[in-house]
Symmetry: D2
Subunit: 344 residues, 4 copies
């Protein structure tokens, strides 16, 4: 079968790779109908996340089950499905608490040996371990473009909002309007936020956020703090979402958030950083970090996508063929795309 | 001043009454600009809730502060305000826990001696005890029609949803589409419900619910259980709201709700009733009852009304003068109105 | 192997039964070292819960794994384990939300065809489906007597408290002091209850409750409501646990609980009942019912048993041999025992 | 009246000061029976927290109401009371949400102009604003030594645990065993922690922690991480409490806490600090900081102290006369005391 593989920093190829085979009673094999290119793929493309040359990449996918192990019972051959970007065993300490993203045996599609050596989904077929937990039936009438988001980007935006403790009537700020940040804007509005400030420097992204119901604030051109204060009787927002993963953004979030509010760092931090603990303490803030628990949220996210309460389809800027993957990565790398959907 | 007073079952008058005076350092006096007629007023009108003849009724109000005691600091003379239907002291056991609706000294406007002998708001002026907790500044640009709902009906619909534990992506059922039920429909959608079933027998109310984003189900003409099951893989809804207060409705709610779901009885129960405890137990349901904690929610509700996330203005079917109160009660009694706004 | 089987109402036998065999990759087989006789067994013994004649009964067990399917990874042959009274699949709608007690494929040991046709544990060996979720390693140094409780009775008492929303410093009432009620007393104290009222009519049970840190109240001989009011400034308790499952007990719970408090019905209800909805509504109570989610709590319960924070060993009144099961059931039926432990 | 006043860094005096007078309808005046010396007082003593020379210090107190404004209704002249270390208005944005520690008009006793110019309680009498919220009746039979803790130190230890999300059966680590850390140890045990690690370098404090039910770990002499890992299957603790306020301690907490666990910084941070955000993110941790909401917790804490579920009396190492305050501060400064109680 054809598959997109990492070769070297800046180089991906489309190659012939052996078709997957069932290895475990809980495995399924999915024939891919659509697969996304995501910001995480770009980390691999740039070599910041190391993957073995020749490893198939990609982790967003919609397709049809073509084979299923004997222990698989929630999906069957012939079912159209969407899948999550990582797997979970369902029985370890963390899975038993619903913390699927911390599964002790979790594997992430298309991220090489460091994340479980699970071949990616930018391919004609993919092996899906623990299929009963990782896959969901595609809701009737849902397009691949929309469904793809449930297993990764919208699941992550939803997680940012859900974990933040945002309640109906709250005011939120989303700092950083990449696809995850924009999905967080939608999720915040859908969860009843009375007001969402969307903060970035890219006018196109600010426009998309505005179309999603947020008040756009151009960092640098507008006085963000003044705008937030004016809207909140000087208190600051109830909830901030750092969708970048940068200490400066975190400092802004700490400043923009009201006393006893919360900050959700959905953007990745990998190192030590200077944090204004004094201000965090003085304001009694709550700070949460970490990857999204997409498996836990996927049913809700699909229900909301299905109802149109969430609709990220405006984020799909490009449709390309799997064979065009090298061009797709180049486009994405030039920041010309928000979401590229590849079809085999 | 002119005021609407209860005289006898079926009879209300507009009379001259003495103007209120400040009695306590925490009191304020509000000149009423708009005041609503509510289902609770109808209970008084019918004599089901007993009020002394000559007592001023009404408890929904928007107006301007014309006097304030020395301990009042959140509002000042000249401020336009909306107020809640009941008062709270702020320091008793329940207030200290934010359970303002259970305040040990709570008084309800316009309900006579049984609820604290606090003259009502269907008048040119009203005395507001504990003004700092009971009143809120009218958000800029908000119409009286919309604001009135914050202090009672929308606060109650919001409470029903908030207390139900509904989360984004859930499916809800609202049984009974009076003004509170219709507000609950809006609140459920605003809180991220993927699907809301609105159940009643009155076509006009079903239409309003549909315009608020619900799927209307005509009790009697449609197979409600079948519709709910079809939409929920046979499980039932996550959350049911009984906005009637009738044992048959509660039985329906128990049947429509999925295992481990919750039922919120916002409709009033006053007596013993046969409840299907066997089914409630088998399905591990949670059942909650009681009046709304409007004081606790009013800031959120105002924020959502201000942002247009909630908008009950379609429920205002009649505007009348305070002097026309007898006619207004007659109209309401004939069920020709959802919400009547009176202006002095 | 030898096994205790139901024969007819009032008659259990110890018979030779075929040894279990692995049927599924997720199965394990446990050689039983100790197994309890429980109130639920008595329902079967009396014929109130119908089980096929010849079916092996029992559902509390400690033992050693003697065989495990290829998909079992959390326990291994040779491990000493304790198990839960019911199974869960780990991947259905309810399991994905941690609602293991509502698993769509749940089976209960020793309850015949109505609860999944899973042979019981009052035998020399038992087949355990979904072993990774159902079994836990026996904590080092924990006696069988103590461990047995984790998989059923203490798990249920813990659930009653945990689901009630009890917080440190609260006042609780436990109505009904069978083994589950007594475990709830311990769990409430362990969770930080400042005061626990233990209510029953049996002096011995009241004494045990007192030794567990509760204030015993003899229903009938003492004025329960007066005692509760005196201790709570007339408010009533924060949390009531109905460990009986009787409408009169529920009515007492409604009366004893303070406004905005909660009532947890852990005792079984199987039919319609008259409930004082008026009082429940007036007091804004929360009422929850249903079976315990023992699988969800078992890790915590084992940790607390291991630390001695919970210690139900005083409830074990009898040790008998498996062969003496008919006598054990007769003793239990005469209410002479709280917990009988059988050893093969 | 006699009062302890700050004079200069290292110098406190006992002086004659005018008796307080009622200034507001919500004020009360309390004749002090016992008042504590606290770690916060030492910050003032050292000049790290600036207070005007001649200002009366102290903020822990038990006494009798000798005067009350007309709006005071929860306490009356002659009542024996304990009070909280700070005041709250009850009606601002934060008070309306129960966030009394963030009251927009909050004043702290004995901290000079920066915290509201409210004279302290190390005096014969003290003026208590907003007396209905700040004071509580002294529970019958409770000693001053025990009661003093409710309004500050135990309230803070309780807050650390309560805000951490600790649940019964969890494992906690308390880093830093000053009076607050030791109270947190007790609060964690009382809330059902199966295991509490108490970490410090002072043997005496470790011994007290052990007597409170914790496992003491001597930082430096013992391998803390190895001990925690051994007790938690290598996962780490569910909850860490940083009772020091030092970046190194925070780093330890981040390392000791399991994935998806939480860290509560009750120790004060006043500046920027290097935080291992990479590890915090990788482990999906929640970090909370800030002062305790003692007013919110004081009812629960009093109930637990009254029941003996919490008992900090072992922390009272010295009883001295108010006139001996200079000596008391010297003793405390030499770290020879955990809690000194002064009596006028």
């Amino acid at each position: 079968m054809r598959a997109v593989t990492f070769q070297a920093p800046g180089v991906v190829s489309v190659e012939d790779r052996p078709e997957p085979e069932l290895l475990d009673p809980e495995d399924a094999i999915v024939r891919i109908e659509a697969t996304g290119v995501c910001g995480s793929d770009l980390h691999i493309f740039h070599g910041r996340v190391q993957v073995e040359p020749g490893f198939t990449i990609g982790h967003e996918y919609v397709g049809t089950v073509v084979a299923a192990g004997e222990a698989v019972s929630r999906v069957a051959v012939g079912d159209r499905v969407i899948g999550c970007f990582q797997t979970a065993c369902g029985s370890c300490y963390f899975c038993r608490r619903g913390l699927y993203h911390r599964c002790l045996e979790s594997r992430t599609f298309g991220h090489g040996a460091t994340l479980g050596s699970l071949q990616g989904t930018q391919a004609e077929m993919a092996l899906v371990p623990h299929a009963d937990l990782v896959l969901r039936l595609l809701p009737e009438g849902m397009s691949s473009d929309v469904a793809l988001f449930a297993g990764d980007v919208m699941g992550t935006g939803f997680h940012a909002v859900d974990s933040s403790g945002l309640r109906p009537g709250d005011v939120a700020a989303v700092l950083g309007l990449g696809p995850v940040g924009l999905c967080a804007v939608q999720a915040a509005r859908a969860a009843g936020a009375a007001h969402v400030f969307a903060i970035d420097t890219v006018p196109e992204r600010l426009s998309v956020a505005e179309s999603f119901g947020a008040e756009p604030l151009h960092l640098g051109e507008q006085d963000v703090r003044a705008a937030v204060r004016a809207a909140t009787e000087d208190r600051g927002v109830d909830v901030s979402i750092d969708a970048v993963g940068d200490p400066k953004v975190l400092e802004s979030a700490i400043r923009l958030t009201r006393a006893c509010g919360s900050i959700q760092c959905i953007g990745v931090y990998a190192e030590r950083a200077e944090v204004h603990m004094g201000l965090l303490w003085l304001k009694s803030l709550t700070l949460r970090g970490g990857q999204a628990n997409v498996l836990r949220h996927v049913d809700r996210v699909l229900a909301m996508l299905s109802a149109g309460v969430l609709d990220p389809s405006a984020l799909v800027t490009h449709h390309m063929k799997l064979e065009e993957a090298p061009e797709a990565y180049a486009v994405y790398d030039r920041r010309e795309a928000l979401k590229i959907v590849l079809t085999p």
